[in-house]
Structure formats: C-alpha cells, structure tokens
C-alpha cells in the first residue's frame, strides 16, 4: 500500500486521484440513496444528453484558466453564435456548411476581441470579458428583438442533426460521443502539443516565458479564440437538441462551467491544471441537480450542495498544494 502511495504516478496525479474519488463517492451516494433511479439507464442517458453542452466549454475554458486568465463572456458568445446559426440555417433553407462556418467564425472573432483587449489594450481579462459579456448579449437582444427562432423545419431529420445529437444504437446521444472525443483530443493538446506547453509556461510566469522566447500575447489570443470556437460549437449542439433558439440561450452556463473547471482541480493562479479533472468536474456538477432530486431532497438543496462540493473540492486542492511547497 505504501508503495502504491509513493509511486511516481500517484505523486504527480494527486489532483486527478482526489477528484475521481470525490466523484465515485458522490455516485455511490446517488446509487445507495436512489437505487430505483440509478440502477436504470434513463438517468444516464439524461446526463449524457445535457452534460456536453457545458462540458465542451469547460474543457476549452481550462486552457484559459491555466493561463491565469478568465473568460466570463462565453455565455453571450454562445448566444450570439446560436442566433447567427439559427438565422443562417433558416435563411439558407438548411445549408449546414454556411451556418456552421459563419457561426464558428463569429465565435472565434469574439474570442479574438477578448484576446486583443487583454493583450494589446491591457485590460485584465475579468474586466474585459464582463464588457464583452454584456456587449454580445445586448447584440442578441437588439437583433432578435426578444423572439426565438425555430429550426425544426430545416434541421430535424437531416444528416447534420443525426451527426450532432442522434442517439447511437438508440441509446447513446451523439453529443456525448463528441464530448468524449473532444476531451481526449484537448487533453492531448493540453499536455503534449507545443500550444498546450506554452499555455502552462505563460500561466506559470509571463516574464520568464517571454525571456524563453514564447510569444506570450499570441498564446493568450489563441486561447481566447479557441474558447470562442468551442462556445459556438456548444451553442450549435444545444440548437440541434432543442431545435429552437431563444434569446437567453447560454445564460446560466457561466457558473456551472467555471465550477466544473475549478472543482476539476485547475488552479486559478495559472500554470497548472488538468483536462481530465475538468471532465470529472463536469460529471459532478452536471449530475448534482438530478442526483439531489432523485435522492428525495427538494430542488432547493441543489445550489446549497453545489456550493458545498465546490468549497470542499477547492479546499482539498489548496491543502495538497500547500504540502507540496
């Protein structure tokens, strides 16, 4: 036992191991407290259906948080890109390529603006993205005039609908498969691509990174741009699932998404983080609401227990970290 605890893997993956134990414990509570729900498949299908919408963004946001930056504007980027997607899909009578290309491009453009505000103008990211949060949501309201867009006629039953949200074997929602694939890909980029490497260095120490020849501004800009892209993508997934755009789309994503990143163990100080942890964080945060209700507690407990989870998890990480230094 001592051997296992002292092994290299355990030493370097304390965060990942802690978060996994927390998740297992949580699901064990669900399982024991509400066996009639958690021994059957539908609850898991519901999880797989809903988690990817904020999970994709959480994975992508892990890059920005590892930089020591934050992006609060993604809920509104989801809004503006979903609106664009809905408008174009209906206007072109279901031309997926045009709608997808322009919506994701707009997402990247919104990310680019965040990146430029932070690097070239020099506004702290928390402030800059509060600005763009209001800006993009405001634009959604102005353009949509408060009304929604139904895409059911141009999307339902199409190949792109199948590609995004159809149930594989009638059971597994396609968006969950995409979520897994993207998580694996992003994990790889995060740890083993030059870009992921630079994200860690810049988040760790900006001045040192500059001295070592890393283009700090570019790394930051690309991080915001990819978050813009994935926000758009998450919005498009949601659109296919709901077959409807509503002007508040994306609102309410902010706290769950960031909570998943922080519960997952990524440090707000930058330089350190884990995509796997964020993935588990998504499983935890995304299951709380249904889990709590299934346990027979009233819905009023959801936020309370959410808060408890976040506080306990980040306290554990802080303690682990303190021991290290």
């Amino acid at each position: 036992m001592n051997n296992i605890l002292n092994s290299y893997f355990v030493k370097t993956h304390k965060l990942e191991i802690s978060i996994t134990i927390i998740a297992i414990a949580l699901f064990l509570i669900y399982f024991l407290g509400a066996p009639h729900v958690f021994t059957r498949f539908p609850i898991y299908r519901a999880f797989m259906q809903s988690m990817p919408f904020f999970g994709i963004i959480a994975i992508s946001a892990t890059f920005v948080v590892t930089l020591g930056e934050i992006d609060l504007s993604f809920p509104s980027i989801v809004g503006i890109t979903s609106l664009t997607f809905g408008m174009l899909l209906t206007a072109t009578d279901g031309n997926f390529f045009i709608a997808f290309l322009l919506a994701t491009s707009l997402g990247m453009f919104a990310g680019l603006i965040n990146g430029l505000l932070v690097t070239k103008i020099g506004i702290p990211s928390i402030v800059a993205t509060i600005g763009t949060l209001f800006f993009w949501r405001g634009l959604v309201n102005v353009i949509s005039q408060g009304s929604g867009i139904a895409i059911v006629d141009v999307a339902d039953g199409t190949w792109h609908h199948t590609l995004f949200v159809e149930k594989l074997f009638g059971k597994i929602p396609a968006q969950f498969i995409w979520f897994i694939v993207l998580t694996a890909l992003m994990q790889w980029v995060y740890r083993y691509h030059k870009f992921g490497n630079h994200i860690h260095f810049v988040g760790d120490n900006k001045a040192s990174s500059q001295m070592m020849g890393i283009n700090v501004d570019n790394v930051k800009i690309i991080a915001f741009v990819q978050l813009g892209f994935f926000s758009a993508l998450a919005g498009i997934f949601t659109m296919y699932e709901m077959l409807y755009f509503w002007p508040t789309q994306g609102e309410g994503l902010m706290l769950t998404t960031l909570a998943a990143v922080f519960v997952g163990g990524t440090s707000v100080f930058g330089g350190r983080g884990t995509i796997f942890g964020t993935f588990i964080g998504v499983l935890i945060i995304g299951s709380l609401e249904s889990g709590i209700v299934a346990l027979g507690l009233s819905g009023f407990y959801v936020k309370f227990i959410n808060g408890l989870m976040i506080t306990v998890a980040v306290s554990i990480y802080a303690i682990i970290q303190r021991k290290k230094t």
Binding site: Y8, T12, W188, Y192, H193, K194, F195, N197, H198, H200, F201, D204, N205, A207, S208, S209, Q210, M211, M212, G213, I214, N215, G271, R272, K324, T325
Partner: protein, 255 residues
C-alpha cells in the same frame, strides 16, 4: 587573434520621453567575458535586453559575427546564438525540467506535438553531462520549484551550452546564492572562455565581477563612462572608480 563577435554602434533607447541608453558603442570579442557595471538605473538591464531581443533599440546598429542584424525577438536572438541566463526569470517554477529546458524551442513533429521521448532523453543528457547533476533527487521530472538558486542557474547554463550559444548574457548570476553556489557559477563563467564562447555579465558584486571578467564596461545614466581591461586596473582601483562615480552622481543631484 581577437575576433569580434558582437558590436553595438550608436545605440539609443528611449522609453517615451525617458532616454535610457545614450549613444552606446561597445564591442565583445570571441572568448571574452565582459562585465557591465554601474549603479541601479544606469541602463545595464536595458542594454542587455536590447542584445537579447526583449527590447528593440530606438536607433543604432547591432553587428553579430560582423553582419548587421536586426533582433526583433528573443526567439531570433536565440537562433543567432545569444542566450540569456536570468537569475529569477530563467525558468518556470511549476513545470518539469524536461519541459523547461526546451521551452520556446520544443522538439516537435510536423503537427506541433512534442517529441516527449527525445526531449526527456536530451534533458537527461544536459542534467548529467553539462551540469553534472548526479543526485537522485533531481530528475527530468522534477519541477523547478524544489531547486536551489544555484541549481536553477545550473540548468539555465546547461541549456545555453546544449544549444551551443556563442554569447551568453548573465543578469546578476550570483544574486541570492550561497558562497559555495556562487563559486560554481563563477567557475562556469570562466569555463566558457575555454570553449571560445563569450559572455556579458551584470553583477553588483565587484569582487565577483573582477574575478570572472576580462574587461569592464562602466555605465552611468545610460552612457559608457569607462572601459578597462583587467590588466589595466586593479580590483581596488575599480572599486575606487565606482565609488567616485557614485559620489559624483550624488553631488550632481544635490547641486
């Protein structure tokens, strides 16, 4: 015999209205260690940042290996063979050594993914052969956080040797180090000469500077005010010069 490596001609650097460097003309030969000395605010750090590509001069010319060059970034100066070793800023604390050594010039495949095996292998070689870390406590997987000041300097030096830099720029290399570690760093600087490599270094401690350098360039308020070869000046005289400079500065300020 003495072959020129780096020459700066009429370098000026302004930060807005502040003239930090005023008409700097200096030359560094191959195999020579040059110390930049001067008070705080004399422009030493700015000067080496111009050389390493962190700052670009407002005007003036830089020659490297007798060719005029325009150093636009740290990556470019590194490619030319200029490597900086900064006391506090050479490495990133929370990252592993195998990542730190190659930061900014990773070994990657065509898609930009790191060749981890190769980076680890080369990092191991650097730790063992160039730095002489034999302790089991420091491996390529160690993060920089646990290293002492001297060990950090060692890693930065090892990195510059591995990448075969011609000119190594040292910013306060002995600051905050124990006597024993300082000794190691100074020995390393002396060792550079044997490989016909050059170094510029800044250090507040005249005793360290005097022991390691071949030539001294004194900066004061952005200008070169003195230049001495080691055989032209004794350590005591050099100290005396610095004190005079310091006092004359004070008198001027008071007047």
């Amino acid at each position: 015999m003495t072959e020129e490596l780096l020459r700066l001609e009429n370098i000026f650097k302004n930060f807005g209205a502040v003239k930090v460097l005023k008409d700097i003309n200096i030359k560094i030969n191959k195999g020579e260690v040059v110390a930049l000395i001067g008070d705080n605010g004399a422009g030493k750090s700015t000067l080496i940042k111009v050389i390493t590509g962190v700052h670009r001069p407002t005007s003036g010319k830089v020659f490297f290996n007798k060719n005029e060059v325009n150093i636009k970034s740290v990556a470019e100066s590194r490619k030319m063979g200029i490597e900086a070793v900064y006391q506090e800023r050479a490495l990133c604390d929370q990252q592993e050594l195998w990542r730190n050594i190659f930061a900014g010039r990773e070994i990657t495949n065509a898609f930009g993914f790191l060749d981890i095996k190769k980076q680890r292998k080369e990092a191991e070689k650097i730790l063992r052969d160039y730095i002489g870390f034999t302790s089991k406590a420091i491996t390529v997987d160690s993060t920089v956080m646990g290293l002492s000041g001297g060990e950090k300097q060692g890693v930065a030096f090892g990195r510059s040797l591995y990448f075969n830099s011609d000119l190594i720029v040292l910013d306060e290399p002995t600051m905050g180090l124990s006597i024993q570690e300082t000794e190691k760093v100074l020995n390393f600087v002396k060792g550079l000469k044997q490989e016909n490599k050059s170094a510029i270094f800044i250090d507040h401690n005249i005793i360290h500077v005097y022991g390691a350098a071949d030539r001294f360039i004194i900066l004061d308020r952005g200008e070169v005010v003195g230049e001495f070869k080691k055989d032209e000046i004794s350590r005591e005289e050099l100290v005396q010069k610095m004190i005079q400079l310091h006092e004359s500065g004070k008198i001027k300020v008071e007047a």
